[in-house]
Amino acid sequence: MDRNQIGKWLKNPGKMANKYSFHVVYFCTGCGIIEVPPSITTRWDAERFGIIPVATPRQANLFLITGYVSTKTLAAIIRTYEQMPEPKYTVAFGSCPINGGMYYDSYNTITSLDKYIPVDGYIAGCMPRPEAIFIGVTHLWKLIDMDKADGYKRYREDYVHYRANQEQILGELDWPPLFSKENL
């Protein structure tokens, strides 16, 4: 928690500000969302780290994927992720986004989310408790410090690959590709 070290602020305000003001997209994708309200209210109070749930993805920079992802929800997740402004981080809860979890052989559950949108971190636990979420957030701080939380950069560099995966699952997408040649 190096929020009060002025030196770091002066050296790299953008990164520090990103670390200590996570605006979370309040969009429940799976069963884990039930853990988010207790973490932002009185008992665990995420706001002390600057974490507030925000209504629109436009204002957010952290995207929590809380649980298994069905093909229908995937379309909404991709669209919301693409609507978030650039330095954006994704954290997935539980094992379902990693390898499909207990729905590993279900005919309409995504087995690994990382193919479709870049995921910066996973939090173990079927569904992780609020303390686990905070630990995840602290790890995310470290990743940002080490510039390892570069999901959005990966998304932009090989967007063609991501897009192909998405089209392979969802068929013809009805929103234009986010990065065409000129605004890469």
Binding site: P57, A75, A76, R79, T80, Q83, E86, P176
Partner: protein, 618 residues
């Protein structure tokens, strides 16, 4: 450059345009534009010329006079320039309409008659020109056939009532003083009784109230504006309805004289307090009715009535600041209401006739100039600082507050906030928001439509930042009317009870605007995005269904709907039906049987003889 020559050019110009229209439409357009611009040039040459010429003696020996003074010049330059702009605008608006010769003839005829009204030195010329203006407006309002006919009849009946009142007023002056010359009447009138002055004021203010659409007499205005062709409704709302204000100025300041009008009537019930309160009501109620309208031109029409209230309050309050505010507001209102009607006309032209507020949207991407004009027009209407509306409203508010009439000031300020809401609905539903699919390939407004819009927007900003230019002329008007002068400088009004300096407001906004525009540019570049890449909770944006317009202020509608009906309109319709039924019953007298006719004759004789024998009154 004598005044008669000016009027001869104006009237003959109208006939010339009609005739040249017979030859070819291009020639007619050229002649019409030439004449209107020529008139603008001539009138601008007549700046602070004080002449008075008798131009005709033949009418019952009354000498008909044309005089030019600062008040006349102020209105004349406004009339001629707005009509010129509207004619340039209608070159393309009326390109393929039927009977366009008739349209141009009527426009120039109305322009000429308005000029004569303003230059009239005596009441008979004033009345003759007033009548010519009324019936030619009637003919032009009913130009758009079906819906417009009802609007035309309603207009002509009300304006006939008005002109008849004025005729009685003029003739009672003529008979009691023997002269109709406005200057002589003014000094003849001072010694006469208060009752007679009150009678004259009431009669004349009925006429000018109908024309300027003060609250109880306003019912003709919404239909007339909505149904007439857009360039004409621009002229109609811009200058024609403000002839009522010119009339009020004439009767209250020139004829009856400013000092006497202030003390007419006892205490609270004095003439100009009642007029102020009528003006205040006219500000508030129409502005909130405007919010409910779904037709763009109806909404602007109701605002025309509302803004008319400001002018009346300004003029009727009786202080020099108020009068200056009222007169300046007349000019300002004319600029931005003409601009708004022209931009609505541009939309009407490119979406061939569609002006329903619920089915348009997002046009600012396709028609930038019309949008630019609309934006500046509504900011003028609200009175946003840096526009001319702000300066004149500021003058009016200052008079009301410092003239310790807080309730009037409250009504005026409330009117402004009502304007903000309804005018924003106008801009939002027409220009902003989602562009519907069928309007995807709308083409821009043609050049002749864009020139007037750009010129008018420039004048709004110019008079907003440098109000000194028009205020100097207005200052000479109110001095001529007997008020003490305001010390005007180029960028505002300086007085010990609060100065208005538009320049430093402009400088502040410019500086801060530049700073933050710079910061905005320096910060990370933002990626442009299409209107369908929008936040919709993860879903795809449905086409044609994602623009919120119907019942824009739904909560207020539910609360205000029962109170915001136009009760006067319903009342007048009931009177019209009553008269119609009386007429039918009266016609029944002519039954069609010869027997009853002969019986009438015999009864006539019998009754006469009986009356003579019993009371012998003959």
């Amino acid at each position: 450059m004598s005044l008669e020559l000016l009027l001869i050019i104006a009237f003959s110009g109208a006939f010339l345009t009609y005739l040249s229209g017979k030859i070819s439409s291009q020639l007619r357009d050229g002649v019409a534009v030439l004449i209107s611009l020529g008139l603008v040039a001539i009138v601008s040459f007549l700046y602070n010329v004080q002449t008075e010429t008798v131009f005709y003696q033949g009418f019952f020996g009354i000498s008909l006079i044309l005089r030019m003074n600062s008040l006349a010049w102020f209105f004349a330059i406004a009339i001629v320039s707005f009509t010129a702009l509207c004619i340039i605008y209608s070159l393309s608006y009326m390109k393929d309409c039927e009977r366009s010769n008739y349209y141009y003839f009527m426009m120039l005829l109305i322009n000429a008659s308005m000029l004569t009204i303003v230059l009239a030195g005596d009441l008979v010329t004033f009345f003759v020109a007033w009548e010519i203006m009324s019936w030619s407006t009637f003919l032009l309002i009913s130009y758009n056939r079906n819906g417009a006919l009802q609007a035309g009849i309603k207009y002509i009946v009300l304006s006939l009532i008005g002109s008849m009142c004025m005729l009685v007023g003029i003739l009672s002056i003529y008979t009691s003083f023997g002269t109709v010359n406005i200057a002589d009447v003014a000094n003849h009138l001072t010694p006469s009784s208060v009752g007679y002055k009150l009678f004259l004021l009431i009669i004349f203010s009925i006429t000018f109230g109908i024309k300027n659409a003060i609250m109880p007499l306003h019912t003709w205005l919404p239909d007339a504006y909505a149904e007439s062709p857009s360039p004409f409704s621009a002229v109609l709302s811009g200058m024609l309805t403000r002839m009522g204000v010119f009339g009020f100025l004439l009767i209250m300041y020139v004829i009856v004289g400013m000092k006497t009008t202030l003390h007419l009537g006892r205490g609270f019930l004095s003439f100009n307090t009642i007029l102020c309160w009528l003006g205040a009501i006219t500000i508030v109620i129409p502005t909130f009715i405007a919010m409910l309208q779904n037709d763009a031109k109806k909404l602007l029409a109701w605002h025309g009535i509302g803004q008319g209230g400001y002018m009346i309050v300004g003029i009727a309050f009786g202080t020099s600041l108020g009068a200056a505010g009222g007169i300046f507001h007349t000019l300002n209102h004319a600029t931005y209401i003409v601009l708004l009607f022209l931009s609505v006309g541009a939309i009407e032209y490119s979406t061939n006739g569609l002006r329903d507020l619920n089915s348009l949207g997002g046009l600012f991407k396709k028609m930038p100039i019309a949008f630019f004009g609309g934006l500046l027009g509504i900011s003028g209407l609200i009175g946003v600082p840096l526009t001319n509306g702000f300066v004149s409203k500021w003058l009016i508010y200052k008079t009301l507050i410092l003239g310790n009439a807080p309730f009037l000031a409250f009504a005026a300020l409330l009117g402004t906030w009502g304007t903000v809401l309804s005018v924003y609905k106008f801009l939002h539903n027409l220009f902003l928001g989602q562009l519907p699919e069928e309007h995807k390939e709308i083409k821009k407004a043609p050049l002749t439509m864009q020139i007037p819009i750009v010129i008018l927007s420039f004048t709004i900003i110019l008079f907003g930042i440098l109000p000194g230019l028009p205020l100097k002329v207005i200052n000479s008007i109110i001095v001529a009317a007997g008020f003490q002068a305001l010390d005007i400088n180029i960028w505002g009004v300086t007085s010990e009870t609060g100065t208005l300096n538009m320049l430093n407001i402009f400088a502040a906004i410019a500086v801060f605007g530049a700073i933050f525009w710079g910061i905005f540019k320096v910060a990370r570049k933002s990626t442009p995005v299409d209107q369908y890449d929008n936040y919709a909770a993860g879903a795809a944006v449905p086409k044609n269904k994602y623009h919120y317009t119907v019942e824009y202020y739904a909560p207020f509608y539910r609360m205000g709907k029962p109170f915001l009906k136009d009760i006067f309109d319903m009342f007048y319709n009931r009177i019209a039906e009553a008269i119609g039924s009386i007429c039918d019953s009266v016609r029944k007298i002519y039954t069609g049987y010869v027997g009853s006719y002969v019986m009438y004759i015999v009864l006539f004789i019998a009754s006469l003889i009986f009356v003579q024998l019993t009371w012998s009154i003959f």
